[in-house]
Amino acid sequence: MIEFFRKLFAPEQSGATARERLRLVLLSDHLSLAPDVVESLRADLIAVISKYVEVDEANCDVSFEQQDRAVAVLANIPILAMRSRTPPSSPPGAPPASPPHSPDPPPSMGDPIGAAYAVADGGESGGSAAVAPPPSPAPRKRRRRRRASGNPAPAPG
């Protein structure tokens, strides 16, 4: 009964759902078509993390993956050792003081991009050179990173 009234007064706007799905799928498509962007993002990410810990650069893996409501940056960066100069108060996985952004969205992406999630992995498993596990959200430390017009909520337009 309640369901009935809910549907009566707030009918499902599947057009908005379509818009949101379209935005995400195209973001993902365009990223996979722009490998140079992925490559420079990877290099920048490794550079930043290397400031704090010694990473196994040969086995780093950075990729984009579409999840339920966002496209995520998945980074699997195995750590070999801590740097002697430990950064004071930042716990592993916390954003560095000035987060470096991959400069601009690639020109092929016409639309402003919504939020992307950066998933930092391997913070506690020092020395693990494991291959990228399938993305399981639970054990990963996840931080949000705002991009150009980044509002993670599925806002229209």
Partner: protein, 281 residues
């Protein structure tokens, strides 16, 4: 009938050399209305007296002849021409109703990979010398059939329905078309009533992604199916709103219509009653 006497037999080698426009009608996704669009735009352009050749590039799945109602007249097809078995004039089918319209049908029993890309380019090129417009009906997909369909065209019309999959595929195809002189958009099968209720992507939603000049919007209506059943393009029906929309698009292609495309509105109660009592069959 004026064209019958005055037109210098379009497509015949005696016609003066023209430099027609070669336009590919494409979409990426199948079933969005490329063939219907090609048939209607070709017919509409030919109705204005222009010499128009339609090429069905969907080798193996020939459909354009059906939509035009010309299936009984097709004797030879595009591969017969490309492989030198018949001349171009032998393969071009003249339309039943509009004498300046010609169809070059696809081969039904062959495959898209049988078509040589460079031969296709040369074929379109030679047709451009004899016709004002060469419209190429592109198959779905982005494989060889697509490559062959776009190779001779320097303009493209993207047909897209207001659906996530269609927009995604159209976006991909726009990327593959590269720098054609012109890529324009037709939004097909819009349901204005659903858009108004927030249950369908709007024309603006579609074009916020594709960002192409809009040639026109075609509403989803039963008349399209009825016309396909009969093999009579809707542009031949003066009473059809969809036919008028296609004629307007043809006018925009030709440059004679500079009005902004109209977005169809939901039917009024009066129109609904009208179709309830006197639906066309």
């Amino acid at each position: 009938m004026r064209e019958l006497q005055e037109d210098p037999a379009p497509g015949s080698s005696s016609a003066p050399r023209r430099r027609g426009r070669a336009i590919v009608v494409t979409s990426g996704k199948g079933g969005v209305g490329k063939t219907t669009t090609t048939a209607n735009l070709g017919t509409a352009l030919a109705l204005t007296g222009a010499a128009v050749a339609l090429i069905d590039a969907d080798v193996g799945l020939r459909n354009l002849d059906i939509v035009l109602g010309l299936e009984a007249r097709v004797r030879n097809h595009v591969l017969d021409v490309l492989e030198g078995r018949v001349t171009l004039d032998d393969a071009l089918v003249t339309d039943k109703r509009v004498p300046t319209l010609r169809l070059l049908a696809a081969a039904q029993t062959r495959e898209k990979d049988d078509v040589d890309t460079e031969a296709m380019r040369a074929l379109v090129d030679s047709l451009r010398d004899r016709f004002d417009y060469v419209l190429i009906d592109c198959p779905a997909g982005i494989e060889k059939g697509f490559t062959n369909a776009i190779v001779g065209a320097d303009e493209a019309i993207i047909v897209c329905t207001p659906e996530v999959a269609a927009v995604r595929d159209a976006d991909r195809v726009v990327g593959l078309l590269g720098n054609r002189t012109s890529i324009k958009l037709i939004v097909n099968r819009l349901r204005p009533d659903l858009v108004r209720r927030g249950k369908m992507l709007s024309v603006d939603d579609v074009n916020a992604i594709l960002r192409l000049p809009l040639l026109g919007v075609i509403a989803d209506e039963p008349g399209v199916i009825i016309s396909t059943n009969k093999g009579e393009p809707l542009v031949l029906d003066d009473a059809s709103a969809t036919g008028a929309a296609y004629r307007a698009i043809a006018g925009r292609i030709a440059g004679t219509d500079t009005s902004t495309p109209e977005i169809p509105l939901p039917p009024t109660l009066f129109q609904k009653l009208g179709s309830f009592f006197g639906g066309r069959r």
